[in-house]
């Protein structure tokens, strides 16, 4: 049982680390649980190692972990020593255990961030003890809170469930403290709430409820539940793209949503795959109105002055820094880039950095590459129409509706790319359920506290990496042997090493069973050191 908990932890940690890389800007971004077997190559291992290096010294790398692992007796002893309730008589050996809760860790992180990581403190991994988070039910109003789905600069997004009608929901938790750190943070949020309250459409994410907790200085935005976003789907797909017909389905819904928004005088300004979410029944929902603007009721036209969206999706008029521009056409451009990105996995404009990128966008009219015409001619024409540098020449929503490709029904080619699993659960089941079970049945076996150390965490991470690597090697060697039908001595050596590794892995499991379920919270220390190199033969 503990072992399964362990794996969730690892997923968590990976999700956090990927989040760090992506900047965590997106709204309601579900923890992208990159399962090891999907992308278990060097990338993944770098993440693990990098992650490892946030917390302790570079000397304790994976080889160390494995050496120590062999002396599992010692490990258990330590385990016992650091976990007071398990063996009370050892408590005196470690009298200075300071327990930190989430907020305290947050505070500590802020302090360390503020100092700017001027120096490092060496802390032994075995001295960092975690207590497994118990699934204690937490209610906010009539909503039962579940696991964290994603985290952004403003706060967290958690899954929730309405305890009266049992609908699944997503709750965006905003803390005043964090909002203050974002420029225009509070202003943007009030505007977003004001906007969302007016909007009601099948393809626009619905705000269900807003709650305030003055005492905790928190704000809860209860929204309808979405199982994932298009960006995540792309991230998990091979080649980061989806079949034409699937993109067509989403694009039609996007146009419906945009048409509604524009009819409400709302310009979204940040249309991108990351802000297009999907419900369980694959309904697309436009979300994140953080930078959206509502035109004045008496405004003569759609002239806007500010644009704060994501750079890659910005039209030339914003890239070139025009003082005023037509608002509706901004969304058309971004939708064009989005559609192009969904189908090809590429961006029409690229750049090494944000300045280059904006320069490229602003420089000239985009020309559809020949291969795009070969892919689908009418599709290429639509993209070209939406990516007209001149806003007045750019297609309007009405014109898009009459477009040949828009009206066509692309041939279904192969299966659609799936929605990635939620927290490792391919069914995407509610994460509130464990909390409810703990509440209603008070699961007895979990009542005792479970402790584990950073060391355990990293061993587990290393183990996961090793097993993934082993898997890859196994498939490689299998493929190699199948290809040439030759018995190669090197493979056999590898296989030998493999079995050794397996042996030691079993030991890890037995150590884990001693009482270290893992559930760790977000580590926010930035990726200041990243060790790119990973020795390929970690068993040596």
């Amino acid at each position: 049982m503990t072992v399964t908990v362990t794996s969730t932890h690892v997923m968590d940690a990976q999700a956090k680390s990927t989040h760090l890389q992506s900047g965590g800007g997106g709204e309601q971004q579900h923890g992208s649980t990159k399962s090891l077997d999907v992308a278990a190559r060097d990338d993944e291992m770098t993440v693990l190692l990098t992650n490892k290096n946030y917390h302790f010294d570079a000397t304790s790398d994976i080889e160390d972990a494995f050496v120590e692992l062999n002396g599992s007796d010692k490990d258990m002893e330590l385990d016992a020593a650091v976990a007071p309730p398990v063996s009370g008589n050892h408590q005196t050996e470690h009298p200075q255990v300071t327990w930190l809760d989430d907020d305290a860790i947050d505070a500590l992180d802020r302090v360390t961030l503020d100092i700017g990581n001027m120096f490092f403190n060496r802390v032994d991994s075995q001295d960092i003890i975690y207590q497994q988070k118990k699934k204690n039910i937490k209610m906010v109003g009539k909503y039962v809170m579940g696991d964290v789905l994603g985290e952004g600069s403003y706060g967290k997004v958690k899954e929730a469930m309405n305890s009266e009608n049992l609908t699944r929901l997503a709750v965006k938790i905003l803390t005043k403290r964090k909002l203050r750190r974002i420029p225009n943070g509070e202003q943007n949020v009030t505007r977003e709430i004001h906007l969302l309250k007016q909007l009601k459409h099948h393809n626009v994410v619905q705000l269900v409820d807003v709650m305030y907790n003055e005492e905790k200085q928190k704000m809860y935005l209860v929204m309808e539940y979405c199982i994932g976003g298009l960006q995540e789907m792309l991230d998990h797909a091979p080649e980061k793209k989806m079949p034409l017909y699937q993109a067509h389905g989403y694009f039609k819904q996007l146009v419906n949503g945009l048409e509604y928004l524009h009819s409400c005088r709302v310009i979204h300004k940040d249309i991108k795959p990351g802000n297009l979410l999907l419900t369980l029944d694959q309904t697309l929902k436009v979300s994140d109105f953080g930078v959206a603007e509502q035109l004045d009721m008496f405004a003569p036209d759609d002239t806007c002055t500010t644009g704060q969206g994501s750079p890659a999706f910005q039209p030339p008029e914003i890239a070139n820094g025009h003082e005023t521009f037509a608002g509706f056409k901004v969304d058309i451009w971004s939708s064009g880039v989005t559609l192009y990105n969904l189908v090809t996995g590429l961006y029409p404009f690229e750049g090494d950095n944000i300045y280059r990128l904006l320069e490229n966008i602003g420089r000239s009219q985009w020309i559809a590459p020949d291969w795009l015409y070969e892919l689908d001619e009418s599709f290429a024409k639509l993209i070209l129409g939406m990516l007209q540098a001149d806003p007045s020449a750019r297609l309007s929503l009405q014109q898009i509706r009459k477009d040949d490709w828009f009206l066509s029904a692309p041939v279904v080619t192969g299966p659609p790319i799936p929605i990635p699993p939620l927290k490792g659960d391919k069914y995407g089941r509610s994460t509130v359920l464990p909390y409810l079970e703990a509440y209603h049945y008070g699961n007895e076996q979990d009542q005792e506290d479970v402790y584990f150390t950073e060391h355990d965490v990293n061993q587990e991470l290393a183990r996961r990496a090793a097993s993934a690597a082993a898997e890859i090697r196994a498939t490689k060697s299998a493929a190699a042997s199948a290809a040439c039908h030759l018995y190669e001595p090197s493979t056999s050596a590898e296989a030998g090493a493999e079995s050794m590794l397996n042996g030691s892995r079993d030991e890890t499991v037995s150590v884990k069973k001693k009482g270290s379920g893992l559930k760790r919270r977000a580590k926010k220390l930035a990726s200041c050191i990243s060790v790119r190199k990973l020795s390929h033969c970690r068993t040596s």
């Binding site: 049992l166 609908t167 199982i227 369980l280 069914y427 089941r429 409810l436 079970e437 209603h440 049945y441």
Partner: protein, 353 residues
């Protein structure tokens, strides 16, 4: 057949007064036929209810089956929508549970009812619809048949000309206790028409035991129970002991519960019935039988020489002798005046189909 003019209808009795919906019994003066008129107000704040009503009318009008409550006509006068249904003389099963069969329906009557309900479900399912809220409240009875009504929650697999493999979307708060675990779970896999079969199982328990399953249970507990595969069961001699506490005593004892428990502990429900419910309440939707297969279940053998009228009449006469009935009560009044109406109803049916 039925005109759109209110003047052609003579309202004889009000069954229910509500802010949104009122239900009347009426006489159609054109063909002298007894009907039920449901009046919905268009002036409501939330148009979600109205949308559901319109969807229901649209959906119902596609159906033509003897065991599905027909909509004779619907029209708008002033700011009200009028929906006309044939009059079903015994009312809903839930009403009967309250008034006549406080401790549950007799097993044969349940078999008779479900035979009709399953026929209706088979028809709905073969038309790619899911009813979504099968419960005693939505089963109406008249002299010789049971009909399925209330298509508020019904959903179709076919949308925009495409057939979806599964459905998503949770039922309304009021019907959650009858919902299948996969409906409540709201996961990617969604649910299929088998969710109706689960509701049939819950309804069977409701009809047999005379109490709503999960009555006064927290919805969240009901949810976790169902997810764990725990289901309500038929209470008879073999199972009633599970109601008792550790000492074998009746919890919260009073005269009524005592009597109810006595009845449970004395009666015997057939093995076929137990098995039928077990099949319906299978946690795994794929292992639940389809409506078609369920209709062949041995449970329905007992239907052969029985009719709904006989059973209700028999019970009514027992009630009469016990003189528990309160004549002032409108609902009970329906049953009291049964004899006269039974005849009418038969005429109605001839008219309806």
């Amino acid at each position: 057949m039925c005109s759109n003019s209110l003047t052609d209808y003579e309202f004889t009795k009000a069954f229910k007064h509500g802010k949104f919906c009122s239900v009347y019994k009426a006489n159609c003066t054109v063909n002298n036929r007894v009907i039920v008129v449901k009046k919905y107000s268009l002036e409501v704040d939330d148009d979600a209810e109205l949308k559901r009503l319109f969807a229901e009318i649209q959906c119902c009008r596609q159906f033509n089956h003897p065991n599905i409550n027909k909509i004779l006509n619907s029209f708008i006068v002033d700011s009200d929508v009028y929906v006309l249904h044939p009059y079903m003389c015994f009312g809903t099963c839930e009403l009967l549970l309250k008034t006549t069969f406080c401790n549950g329906f007799p097993e044969t009557l349940i078999a008779l009812i479900f035979k009709d309900v399953l026929a209706a479900l088979l028809y709905i399912h073969s038309n790619d619809f899911v009813h979504g809220s099968v419960r005693a409240l939505h089963i109406l009875l008249d002299g010789n048949k049971a009909v399925l009504s209330n298509f508020h929650e019904s959903r179709s697999f076919i949308k925009h000309g495409k057939k979806k493999p599964v459905l998503h979307g949770i039922s309304h708060e009021k019907h959650l206790n009858w919902a299948a675990p996969e409906v409540l779970d709201q996961n990617i896999h969604g649910y299929t028409e088998k969710s109706d079969i689960y509701s049939v199982g819950i309804t069977a328990c409701e009809l047999a035991n005379g109490i709503q399953p999960y009555f006064e249970t927290q919805p969240t507990l009901m949810y976790t129970e169902k997810i764990r595969g725990n289901v309500p069961s038929l209470l008879d001699r073999s199972t009633y002991t599970m109601l008792l506490d550790d000492q074998g005593k009746i919890p919260f004892e009073n005269a009524t519960t005592r009597r109810t428990y006595d009845i449970y502990s004395q009666r015997v429900l057939s093995d076929d019935f137990h098995q039928f419910v077990e099949i319906c309440l299978n946690r795994n939707a794929e292992n639940r039988w389809s409506a078609k297969k369920l209709m062949t279940h041995a449970f329905f053998k007992q239907c052969r020489h029985a009719s709904i009228t006989d059973y209700i009449k028999k019970c009514r006469s027992e009630l009469d002798t016990n003189s528990i009935m309160d004549d002032n009560d409108d609902d009970v009044g329906i049953i009291a005046s049964l004899d006269g109406h039974a005849q009418e109803c038969r005429e109605d049916i001839e008219w309806s189909f």
